[in-house]
């Protein structure tokens, strides 16, 4: 089971628990609690009133807070998955192509050869470190906003700069990389992404033409009937 799935289940359990606690606390008439009643919590014994106050605290604040925290973990981590990207139909061509065993795009070759074990979209589209992770999520939020408000046109177009670090973090320094003399002489341009790795190594995804409604490949890539 994936970590995100564990957190998804945990979120469900906490939600149900929170609801049950709320119902329980709501049914208690605090004025009629026996002042002499003691409740043992194992490590300590508290009065009945204190117990139900603690229970109310848990039902109204602690469990909801924990549920939100766990749910957010699920949201933040869950979007790393390929399926999260694939939920927006404009991204489907990239995912379909990546999984196409006959495709020769860089994404498909990396996928087919198992060069990236999981979360393939995220791995190549998030820059290094925590800041890179955050930037990728911010970009994801921007995509979500665009998608849900319908403020996009097909074929979608990459905005900004694709940082070569996403390639270099795996390839740089490998024997095959350093065997090419020009990799060394254009190193500074690769580092600042002013020279794209894709120039020599080909397209990462289907072309914009292929992703345009009406193109012969559009139906296959989007899974829609032509």
């Amino acid at each position: 089971m994936e970590t995100a799935d564990v957190f998804r289940v945990l979120t469900g359990v906490l939600s149900v628990l929170g609801a049950l606690l709320c119902v329980w606390v709501a049914r208690v008439n605090f004025g009629r609690i026996d002042p002499e009643r003691k409740v043992s919590l194992g490590v300590a014994t508290v009065s009945g009133v204190a117990f139900f106050k603690l229970l109310a605290l848990a039902a109204l604040f602690a469990v909801p807070a924990a549920t939100v925290a766990v749910a957010n973990y699920h949201t933040v981590e869950g979007v790393h998955g390929v399926e999260a990207c694939n939920r927006c139909h404009v991204m489907t061509p990239m995912v379909t192509d990546m999984r196409d065993a006959s495709s020769q795009t860089l994404a498909a070759r990396h996928f087919r050869n198992g060069w990236i074990a999981k979360d393939q979209c995220f791995v190549c589209h998030s820059d290094y470190g925590l800041a890179g992770d955050l930037r990728a999520k911010m970009e994801g939020y921007r995509h979500l906003a665009r998608y849900t408000t319908g403020t996009f046109t097909e074929p979608i177009k990459f905005r900004g700069v694709f940082h070569n670090d996403n390639c270099l973090k795996c390839h740089e320094g490998t024997p095959r990389f350093v065997a090419v003399p020009s990799h060394v002489t254009v190193r500074a341009r690769l580092a600042d992404s002013s020279l794209s790795c894709l120039n020599c190594h080909g397209r990462a995804h289907p072309t914009r033409d292929q992703r345009t409604p009406g193109h012969a490949d559009y139906g296959r890539l989007t899974g829609e009937k032509r």
Partner: protein
Amino acid sequence: MTDREQPVLPPQDAPANPYRREFLWVLGGVGAAVGAGLAGWGALELMVPPGTADQWHKSVCRFCGTGCTIRVGLRDGQIVDIRGHESGHNRGVICVKGSMLRELPRIEGRLTRPMIRKGGKLVEAGWDEALDLVAARFGEIRDAHGPDALAFYGSGQLFTEESYTANKLFKAGLRTNNVDGNPRLCMASAAAGYVSVYGKDEPPGSYEDIDHADVLLLFGANPYECHPPLWERIQRRRAADPRVYTICVDPRLSPTAKRCDLHLPVVPGTDLLLLNAMARVMVEDGLVNRAFVDRHVRFARDGHTVGFDEFAAFLADYTPPAVAGRLGIGADVIRHVAHRFARAGAAMSLWTMGANQRTQGTALNIMLNALHLLTGQIGRPGATPFSITGQPNACGGVRDTGALAHALPGGRQVTNEAHRREVEKLWGVPEGTISPRPGYHAVELFRALEDGRVKGALILCTNPAQSMPDCDRYAAAMDKAFTVVSEIVADSETAKTASVLLPAALWCEKQGVLGQGERRYQLVDKLIDPPGEARPDLWILTQLAERLGLGQLIKARTPQEVWDEWRHMSAHSVYNFEGMTYERLRALPGLQWPCPTEDHPGTVRRYVEGDDPFVSKGAGIEFYGQKDKRAVITLCPYVPSPEQPGEDYPLYLTTGRVLEQWHTGTMTGRIAELGGAAGPARFMVSPADAAARGVSSGDMVEFSSRFGSVRGRAVTDPDLRPGLVFAAFYDARLLVNRVVADHVDPVSKEPEFKLTAVQFRKIRD
């Protein structure tokens, strides 16, 4: 208080709707949340980093004949980024040279003012002074020695409009056919081969055929280094289908050969034996597609038609066992290759300078085409004979416009009277204007400069003092004559010999059309200004025409005017591309001719019904360039090269290119990333040959041949077979062409750069 009765008001604390307050709170909360979300989105939109460029323009790479479609990124009027164009035939792939195009306009040493040689030195001058001088001197030479004392030496790197105008100016204006250029050094044998076989030049197939081929025969080609996007395409094809089989024929274990499934390291100069032997195996083993041959092919010997039986009998001398020893490969390998090729679902051959730059270049080209015709491996996806080109516009600009000594536009010949009359009519000049004598081909032209037959020459966009074989001899010849050189830098080997040096605009500092290997024409728009007073070569030609009193002939002055004239003229030939307007070329990543109308999509496979508009209905495949519509296979006997290693010169020298440098390095040598990656040129020698001469890797050596000598460093390369030496010709500090033989193919007149007998010895540093 007054007596007036106060109106009765509802109690202030009684809300009209008991939930109004909560509703407003909720509404406010939702509004705040939505506002925060929108503000966050807006902020994120603003935070997207700007791309590397503000504007992107479609263009074409300046370097090799692959002719990659690119996107040029501009910021503040400067070129800052280059990307492969994903909609181009190259599907977004370019190479490191193309990637560094951004630096090309800014290279050091750009020539910015015209210069005139005075007292042995080049001194700066104004355009008027320089052009007036050129016109006056050309006029004097013509009047004193006749029009054939003048010559034009052009380039497969000029825009089509420039080559077309130069051709017209010299052939119809100055009335000399002394119009040739550097395509003679690289593509003449391919052109002669195609014309011999199909009656018309240019390949039948397209790069797209790579995507469908099952067997790829790379013959005398090194696309890994010289045409990287094509190599990448071959790699993608191999990855898509592991059954695809690649064969490389090359005396050298080149980077391409290393990566192919089979390498045939033939003895240099013997490869026609291989092609004839493959044909022999095909005949002997029943691999010939007789139905195809009977319908579409004719055989010829010495200009006369012969039958298939005579062809088969001719091949009797080329059985694999009979030629294997001379080829240096096994007879079984020859049979294997012939069978793989013939039995392939689709076989594609790709060749370049290894086949062209040879004294048997035309024969090699004919036989490469012949293998396809014999087996019917032509005219369907993946089955095609394809000559890869070396320069960006040798095909479209020079071969198609007929800017060669023997040619006229649209596949016409100088020696054909009907062709001359047609062209004279189309150019609006009197009958008899065009001389029936073919002009001097490149090597002969420089010999004519040497012995004074030619006294004045205009040289545009090329560096013959470095690129010609036996280059010292021809640089001296240029020194003797009145040469007008248009160049981008002042210190190229050719610029050093100039009588008048003119500063040229390059690439997207001007506008024009480039062709490439697969009959595709693409438009390069002007995006930036040239430095200083540099001008486009078209401007130089039109200004010169005006000063020579030929302004009425050269009426088209802008690139688009020239293009439209040439486009309409092409409609009178089977090179018809009248449908390619500038507007279409600007909108599309090029079009392939034939393309006769503005709604025609272009032709991917020539001679194929349904694709090529000139094929008759119901013909299927029709080689309409020949009168009887049959392709012609001429019997090509093997003739050994005049360059044979012997006692004095026991080694074979072969020359070529390296990945990061292009041609004579005038452009790529000045771009730090490319110069640094290639390093200085050196002689690559086998460890055995080095050891036999007491040479260690890195030692200074002197190479000599019957043509000259040159000094440089030798580096041992264990991949080289003993007896073979390799050097690239990009570096002016190691002018390898000083020792290269200038023997030419008797038909194409292309020199044999690939074969020179040499010797070397160690010298002191």
